[in-house]
């Protein structure tokens, strides 16, 4: 998967909030002052600390962390709603930080669109006009953007609602408008800032499915922010876990799940339903299944829950794993059970500190 070209590259990004961020940055870089100390003794908030991320074209990069971990700050650096204190942000190999006002505006208008947690629709404009915002901003007349906006409203399941006002719609529908607005911009990159966090669980699942559905069709580069691990694991091609403004671990979500490298992450993943999240491909034995006695076959993207139900509880079974109908490996039920052994909440982790 990681052979796709890098679309957004973030290097050594620092963000410090306060009266004199540059001086505070010196302290962080040279004296190694920590977040707490910087706040208590220098009155500056360390928002982001040495962020290095590559976001690949056509992938969903999920940035996950608790509130205050700096994830919303990070995503706003990508389209420079927030200016970094130090570091580099490159989009398509171009240094975004060097952009002047006009080029930055062009970037925001044509190459990046954004979906917000609280929808941030324009309440005085109709749903159709909201969906067409990006085109209207470019100076395209209503007559011309109407068809495009209509098309994307249809696609997100809001056909026929164009004439309504946002406040006449439910939260889930408003966020559909938010997504349609971002899609109408026809940009390669979509930034989604806790886009589904304000929605009810059922609607949230719906929206996640909608997003994955759209993604298989459109292959956009999506940067998705969330504080919900289940959501992160469901959506992510590449998962970045933030804590206190720094990256704790990043990589393929299955990989992080099986090999967490930090007590913080162990705490995070100790609660989730591993059987539903882990996939067959992550624990199968690769290689030719010929010669091994197998009872059935299973797709490599299936989760372990379906493997369990297929085995009917018999741990002695072995399955052929297939990708697009071709056999790619063997799945032993013993390995499945082993993978399901929960990682305990760590002693030094967040929870231990809380109790």
């Amino acid at each position: 998967m990681s052979d796709r070209p890098i679309k957004i590259r973030v290097r050594d990004l620092y963000k410090i909030f306060g009266a004199d961020p540059q001086a505070a940055l010196e302290k962080v870089l040279k004296e190694g002052v920590g977040k707490e100390e910087l706040l208590n003794e220098h009155g500056h908030v360390l928002g982001l600390r040495r962020i290095d991320v590559d976001m690949r074209a056509g992938e969903i990069t999920v940035i996950m962390g608790l509130s205050g971990s700096g994830k919303s700050t990070l995503i706003r650096h990508l389209n420079r709603l927030i200016e970094p204190t130090a570091g580099a942000v490159e989009v398509d190999g171009e240094d975004v930080l060097a952009y002047g006002e006009a080029r930055l505006r062009k970037l925001r208008r044509e190459r990046m669109s954004m979906v917000f947690q609280k929808f941030a629709l324009l309440p005085h404009r109709t749903v159709l006009d909201n969906a067409g915002t990006a085109l209207a901003v470019r100076g395209i007349g209503r007559g011309e953007y109407e068809a495009e906006a209509e098309k994307w409203l249809d696609r997100v399941g809001l056909g026929g609602y164009g004439g309504r006002y946002p406040h006449q719609l439910s939260g889930g529908m408003q966020q559909r408008v938010g997504i349609a607005r971002a899609l109408t911009a026809n940009s390669d990159i979509m930034l989604m800032d806790e886009a589904f966090s304000a929605l009810d669980p059922l609607i949230r699942t719906d929206m996640q499915d909608l997003l994955l559905d759209l993604q298989t069709e459109l292959h956009k580069t999506i940067v998705f922010i969330t504080h919900d691990l289940d959501e992160a694991l469901k959506l992510a091609d590449h998962l970045v876990i933030l804590k206190d403004g720094a990256i704790v671990q990043q990589g393929e979500p299955q990989e992080i799940l099986l090999h967490p490298n930090d007590p913080y992450i162990v705490d995070f993943i100790s609660d989730i339903n591993r059987a539903r999240v882990l996939r067959v491909r992550s624990i199968m034995t690769e290689g030719d299944p010929h010669g091994v006695e197998t009872t059935d076959e299973i797709d490599h993207e299936a989760n372990l829950e379906s493997a369990l139900s297929l085995s009917e509880g018999d741990t002695a079974r072995t399955f052929r794993v297939t990708r697009d109908g071709e056999p790619v490996g063997v799945l032993k039920m013993r390995d499945v059970v082993r993978a399901l052994v929960p990682t305990e909440a760590s002693d030094e982790g967040v929870r231990a500190q809380a109790s």
Binding site: L81, S113, A120
Partner: protein, 346 residues
Amino acid sequence: MATYDGIFDALGLRGWCDAAEQGGGGGAMSMADLLNKGGDDTTFWQTPFPSLDTLNKACAAMPRTRDLTKGVEEGFLAIKDALKVVLDPLTQPLSHFLEFALWAFQAAPWFVTLPVLFLVAYVASKSLKLVGFVAIALGFLAFIDHYDYAMQTLAIIFVCALLCVLLGVPIGIAMSRSDRLQKSAIPVLDMLQTLPPFVYLIPLIFLFSVTEPKLYGIAIILYAIVPVIRLTDLGIRLVDPEVIEAADAFGMTDRQKLWGVQVPLALPNIMAGVNQTIMMSLAMVVIASLVSAPGLGVLVLRGIRNLELGVGLIAGLGIVLLAVILDRVTKAALARVNASSSVQRN
């Protein structure tokens, strides 16, 4: 001997004081001075506050309070001519505008004016009930022969409120965009709002002739412009920062943001400001009758001056009716703006 002689002696200023006494030679004497001339044998409990006048008694070189007011007056008179050269041509259009409006409101026959006013009320409020109320109120005023006065008052309010909005909204927008401007403008607005309306009139009377309509025009505008400025500023600052962020994220220019997002979303507040401005113009137009503003205020003034109780009270009732009409119509317009933009709050 005056109470504070000792202080000047102690400071070694006696020579300076006496020199002034010989040179200036006393100056005019107020009634209080005359009364006090007798004895200075005050007891401890009667020690006067060391005010300018008291100190002057001890030392003639000290200025008196009368000199302060005189200084202000002389200062104003000194810059008056220069001020007039600048302000006169600048404000002349206001006079023409007021004269034209007064003429137009009175020259048009009542059977044209009234339907036009009803139509305006309907367009603003979209409520036939309200138009009915307007018709009854104006009909009543016309029936008791207050039609001309009411129209004069309306004409002045129309001109002044319009100018308040035309000037106030841009000022409010500018204030919302610059914290520095806001900081410096707020004390001025506070002063304009708290200064008793009569006090405005004093310098204006010196600057302009009482026969010129712009005299009261300026007084009304200064008094009534404050709410529309304040509420425009407030309204724009209250626009949901998330929506502003979205506007930025989609690459809106400042202008697109202002006219496409901030002003429309601030409109309910701006309209509330317009409503307040109109009500304050009405309040001021009555006071401005002191400086020859025509309209219902003239009748109120006559009621006070000639002790014509009935005239004054009926004119007052007329003003109340106009106030209710203007308030209801603008509030109905405001409610419509609120309903159509209906900012999401959840």
